[in-house]
């Protein structure tokens, strides 16, 4: 019983990112709504979306997602105007799976895990707006090397420490700091 995300809900309607209300470029939100049983879709900038939200009496809004979802394929224009794009050719290819940069731009999908390295610049540009992706602080495969797992735990605790200090929870911060120094002593292969 998971909400359906079939193509009609996936909002990949066309390549435009202009707001349908005011015509400005830079629509950031898709809204789907049900009115009298029929589904309609509208692509809006933040401002128009807020205006619309204020006058929706009687209308059942049922879905809203950020426009970035599913937009990797459309980043061609964005990539060219983005910060310091690395010169790449569309014929650049992942030799492991045969996917080309043109494919990635067309479909928004990569073919294998090696693609993440081959097309790393493009993907960072599109998914992260050119910035480094946020460090992965979630679960990691157990088969990862011990030092990988250790490094990740240290990163996780360092972040926790920062947040605890920011909201002045010093007692908890102190125990996190203790745990960190323990870890640093036990670091496989020396200091971190």
């Amino acid at each position: 019983m998971f909400a359906d995300e079939s193509p009609e809900w996936n909002l990949d309607f066309d390549n435009s990112d202009t707001c349908e209300e005011c015509g400005e470029v830079g629509a950031v939100i898709h809204l789907l709504r049900v009115e009298n049983g029929s589904v309609s879709h509208i692509r809006l900038c933040q401002k128009c979306a807020e205006n619309l939200a204020g006058r929706t009496e009687g209308m059942a809004l049922v879905l809203a997602v950020p426009a970035i979802v599913g937009r990797v394929g459309k980043a061609k224009e964005k990539g060219e105007t983005g910060p310091s794009p690395v010169p790449t050719s569309d014929s650049q290819v992942c030799t492991v799976c045969g996917t080309t940069l043109a494919d990635v731009k067309e479909t928004g999908m990569v073919g294998c895990s090696v693609c993440y390295q081959v097309f790393g610049d493009h993907l960072r540009n599109v998914v992260q707006g050119g910035e480094e992706p946020p460090a992965h602080l979630g679960k990691v495969p157990r088969q990862g090397s011990a030092s990988d797992i250790h490094r990740r735990e240290v990163m996780r605790l360092q972040r926790m420490l920062r947040e605890l200090v920011e909201c002045e929870r010093f007692e908890e911060a102190a125990s996190v700091r203790d745990r960190l120094s323990e870890l640093e002593r036990a670091a496989p292969g020396g200091s971190v």
Binding site: S6, V69, G108, S113
Partner: protein
């Protein structure tokens, strides 16, 4: 208000194998090989509970939909086609595994109530075990890799099912949706919006630890349900006749209809639950989570599989609406509007 904020909790955990292409780009033989290796691992002992491996070819449309309605299979997987696709259910339907869908593997868990953390620890354990068979595609910066780079990361989708008919009918859901989107969440209807049942879900890449995102979704869900409850009370103060009329009519229909579509049925149960929470009605057949449970049981394939003789009669049979109406009359037997 003691009722749980979440009517149901759902998780989907995506994983891919390194060394082969993602499903959309891979050839049938490699995907079939993967399917066979995974199914062999599921059939081998060593799991706390047994897996039941299904043959997708042999499932009838009603059986397939039944799995989707139970939250054991995602709608996208049910609609999919291609080679090397497999499906298995864990234990007493506490979790399931899709093989060769949009990702090589996708673990699913679904249950009623506030159970996200419990589900996560179960899926995480199963994930650890599967790792003995599958070498996961993982990158220290991106996290777990998938064919859709904007979804690389934890691979975890979290779905919190909420009952918010008043927010939906008054349009207040729109502004809530905007706030959600601003914090990287999405909102979708579960049954086409019937009964004001929605699912709040995380969207896109997140580097955060799984449990933090779960916590965030739980907090957001509780806030939304709080708003729903306060808007209900406000409505009751300002338009008591309108509210009582709406709920009273729902009870009457539920007690006396002989033909009942699923969306209408969800709307009636939804109204009855609002009536119960506002203390306007007495429905002995509905207590606690029961309204949502009743909605689940009254889904089309549930009616066919659990209450009809001709299980192959298909999901178009007009008899379904008649059986559903009868079941609804039974639930509402003895229900009354309080004055």
């Amino acid at each position: 208000m003691s009722a749980a904020a979440l009517k149901a909790s759902g998780l989907g955990l995506s994983r891919n194998e390194t060394g082969i292409r993602f499903p959309h780009a891979e050839e049938a033989t490699a995907l079939e090989d993967l399917q066979q290796r995974v199914e062999a691992a599921l059939k081998n002992g060593g799991w706390d509970e047994p897996w039941r491996v299904h043959d997708l070819e042999e499932l009838s449309p009603a059986e397939m939909t039944y799995l989707v309605e139970k939250g054991l299979m995602s709608p996208g997987f049910a609609d999919g086609t291609g080679e090397g696709r497999g499906f298995a259910v864990y234990g007493d339907e506490v979790a399931s595994l899709e093989i060769g869908g949009g990702d090589h593997l996708r673990l699913l868990g679904f249950r009623t109530g506030d159970e996200l953390s419990v589900l996560w620890s179960l899926l995480s354990q199963l994930d650890d075990r599967l790792e003995g068979t599958i070498n996961y595609a993982f990158d220290p910066c991106w996290g777990y890799l998938t064919s859709h780079p904007e979804q690389a990361g934890t691979g975890l989708r979290i779905y919190a099912t909420l009952h918010v008919p008043t927010l939906m009918l008054t349009g207040r859901l729109a502004s809530i949706a905007l706030e959600l989107v601003a914090s990287g969440m999405g909102l979708s209807p579960l049954w086409g919006g019937a009964g004001g049942i929605i699912q709040v879900s995380n969207r896109g890449r997140q580097g955060k630890p799984e449990i933090e995102t779960i916590q965030e979704i739980e907090d957001i869900s509780r806030d939304i349900v709080e708003k729903e409850r306060s808007v209900r009370k406000m409505f009751m103060r300002e338009n008591p006749i309108q509210v009582r009329d709406h709920i009273g009519r729902a009870i009457g229909l539920a007690q006396h209809a002989w033909n009942m579509s699923f969306p209408e049925c969800v709307n009636l149960l939804s109204a009855a639950e609002v009536g119960l929470e506002l203390g306007l009605v007495d429905v002995p057949g509905l207590v606690g989570q029961a309204a949502f449970d009743a909605m689940r049981r009254l889904q089309p394939a549930h009616v066919v599989m659990e209450h009809m003789e001709a299980k192959q009669s298909g999901l178009e049979s007009p008899e379904i609406d008649q059986v559903r109406a009868r079941m609804l009359r039974e639930i509402f037997a003895g229900a009354r509007v309080l004055s």
